[in-house]
């Protein structure tokens, strides 16, 4: 892997981590009920997406 790719991946990783932390830090923007509802809503969608993508691999 060339240095430019490594640096790019490093920044990508750090930015993703920072974004995640920022999301956590702003948790006050959602009520607890909203957080739970959002997570529950995503679960079946994720299952469906997994099944679809797995079946689509070629």
């Amino acid at each position: 892997m060339d240095p430019a790719t490594i640096i790019s991946l490093a920044f990508e990783a750090i930015n993703a981590g920072i974004k995640l932390v920022a999301e956590v830090k702003t948790s006050g923007g959602m009520t607890t009920d909203q957080i739970i509802a959002h997570a529950q809503q995503q679960f079946p969608q994720n299952d469906q997406l997994y099944a679809t993508l797995k079946a689509s691999l070629t």
């Binding site: 490594i6 990783a13 920072i18 956590v24 006050g28 997570a39 997994y50 691999l57």
Partner: protein
């Protein structure tokens, strides 16, 4: 170049993030991590397919990576339930226990074996992807201070 492996990148990221998360509400922050991971799963799955499409991993490797991400998603559900249960019971140290249990599952060698691929660039990209899913949890455990 293997010295700068994806694992090292995550160590770097963790060090930079360590201490950034000040838990104003450990319960909400714990829940939010679970929610963010749930929300990240679709992008992670799609990225695996993109990496496969780019020819960086084989069909079987992509399938295994999807299996791992799905496993993360499945493990996220009891984690969120655990956080809610701890909040109800007010158990001291419970939130940290929930997060550590979740992390232990994510780091299960048998599961991590699913995301080992033969091509180095594909492996690096997968590591970035998986690291994104775990960085929030690692940071959370650090910031909970045993709550």
């Amino acid at each position: 170049m293997k010295i700068l492996s994806a694992g090292l990148l995550w160590t770097l990221a963790s060090l930079m993030l360590f201490g950034m998360l000040a838990c104003s509400d450990p319960y909400k922050d714990s829940l939010r991590v679970g929610d963010v991971i749930t929300s990240t799963v679709p992008d992670a799955m799609k990225t695996v397919v993109d990496i496969r499409t780019a020819g960086l991993i084989t069909k079987d490797e992509a399938g295994n990576a999807l299996d791992y991400i799905h496993f993360v998603d499945l493990a996220d559900r009891p984690y969120i339930q655990c956080v809610q249960d701890v909040h109800t019971s007010s158990k001291v140290g419970g939130l940290t226990s929930c997060a550590n249990d979740f992390l232990s599952q994510l780091n299960d060698p048998a599961k991590l074996a699913l995301i080992h691929v033969s091509e180095s660039q594909g492996q690096a990209k997968l590591n970035v992807l998986i690291g994104t899913l775990t960085t929030g949890l690692t940071t959370l455990v650090s910031s909970l201070g045993g709550a």
